[in-house]
Amino acid sequence: VSRFAPLGDRAFVAALPEETNARTVYRHLRQVPGVVDVVITESRAAVYGNLDPMLAEAALERAIAEGPKADQDATLHVIRVQYDGEDLPDVARMCGLSQSEVIALHSGRTYSVRMLGFQPGFAYLGPLAPALVAPRRATPRVRVSALSIGMAAHYTGIYPFESSGGWHLIGHAVDFTPFNVLHGATFLLGDHVQFQVAS
């Protein structure tokens, strides 16, 4: 039985076993003949193009066999943050913490890029400290400014462009370019990210 099921007639999608290294999966699937695009989320991988799903299957098996070990070429990004987001008081109240505790927890760990999506260059960073896990806002904002740092569920992330958005805004990134027209996204799948309080 193939792990890959059709997603229309030009793509296939597979459920990923837990403990799979997403970057390894990406690297293997990219090499499948006929693959034009690869999208990896927390639980699924999709390949796009005119391709034989059996070859994608074999590539995925090879990636799974490599195990969860981290790729050596993941980049560490250190991002300076002004923790001045308008939802910071709400987040603190929801989590039963002071604002400075929220900031300490948010800036006190190394995240990895779990997936990209929603917007060009938008990276879902996780996992968030368990004490900070809170649902999305009941009513999404129509306008979230670029470089805003949001958090919801087990994720935090930086909005690369002004857009609508439903995450709690706790601050904004300083001197950071999440997306550029030469190379595209700054954060790539599996990269590591640390937040540093900007003084």
Binding site: P6, L7, D37, P53, P120, F161
Partner: protein, 277 residues
């Protein structure tokens, strides 16, 4: 060689055949809503079909500032003398206007098309506006025959999506309803109206699924029960269940349908799998 946009309404953008290969960065494939029509306009202007052209969802008038050859998606070619005006009257249909030599905008991340969500590509990453002056390029001529326009019948074919079984009645619930193109439409997606789809009790009591990879033509169903058909600028991932996916052959025909047009979805026969060697 330039042209001046003298009046515009709706959404007009510079588009080409897209920028494939970057979905892992969250960058959708993009490109013309109806690539077949964009290619027709280009070939009518004796351009290679990959040249950038103007996609018009609304109306547009332009004035030639030098001698120009225009091609439109109806297959017509028009010569404009300096100072002459061309008018594309208001239309509920998407139209394309190409100019011999191509609209000259920089290639950004492998494409010339406008990606509005990222403010990149096309004319400064934004919709065209009255008063814009567009440079015309020097693309080499192409004399290939005009491709056919997409069919205009309402019957469009879908394949079951990954989440079809999580809806009451499965795919049949979708194909039974007589849908129309809704008012909520842009380059990221088109809403279908005319009915509501319901999750099975088992699916609706489970925690929402985590984000899944998306594809152009996927019918995502938000809690309202009215499906959204993902367009060329769709987010690469999404959290709503996918009941079905339009077959690639019918994508152009679907996105060419105007607001309020009838859409009859029918299940496509699955493609024959490749024989295992």
């Amino acid at each position: 060689v330039t042209l001046l946009l003298t009046s515009l309404s709706g959404l007009c953008t510079v588009q080409d055949l897209g920028r494939p290969g970057l979905m892992h960065m969250g960058i959708p494939g993009g490109g013309a809503l109806v690539p077949e029509l964009c290619a027709r306009a280009n070939l009518a202007a004796r351009n290679d079909p990959s040249q950038a052209a103007i996609e018009v969802l609304g109306a547009l008038s332009l004035r030639a500032q030098s001698h120009l050859t225009l091609g439109t998606d109806d297959g017509h070619t028009r010569e404009l003398h300096p100072g002459e005006t061309f008018v594309l009257p208001p239309s509920p249909h998407v139209h394309y206007v190409a100019v011999r030599g191509g609209i000259s905008v920089p290639v950004v991340l492998g494409g010339r098309g406008t990606l509005l969500v990222a403010r990149l590509g096309g004319h400064h990453g934004r919709p065209l506006a009255k008063g814009d002056v567009l440079e015309i390029g020097k693309g080499s001529p192409c004399t290939a025959p005009l491709p056919e326009a997409p069919h205009t019948t309402s019957m469009l074919h879908v394949l079951p999506g990954p989440d079809a079984a999580s809806f009451e009645g499965g795919l049949a619930a979708l194909t039974r309803i007589s849908w129309r193109i809704g008012l909520r439409r842009d380059r990221t997606g088109v809403q279908l109206v005319g009915g509501h789809l319901h999750r099975t009790l088992a699916a609706s009591t489970q925690p929402p699924p985590s984000s899944a990879p998306m594809v152009r033509g996927a019918l995502q169903v938000p809690p309202s029960g009215e499906p959204i058909v993902l367009g060329p600028d769709h987010p690469t991932t999404g959290g709503y269940p996918v009941i079905a996916v339009l077959v690639s052959e019918d994508l152009g025909a679907f996105f060419a349908r105007p607001t309020h047009a009838h859409v009859a979805l029918t299940q496509a026969l699955p493609a024959q799998p490749l024989p295992r060697p």
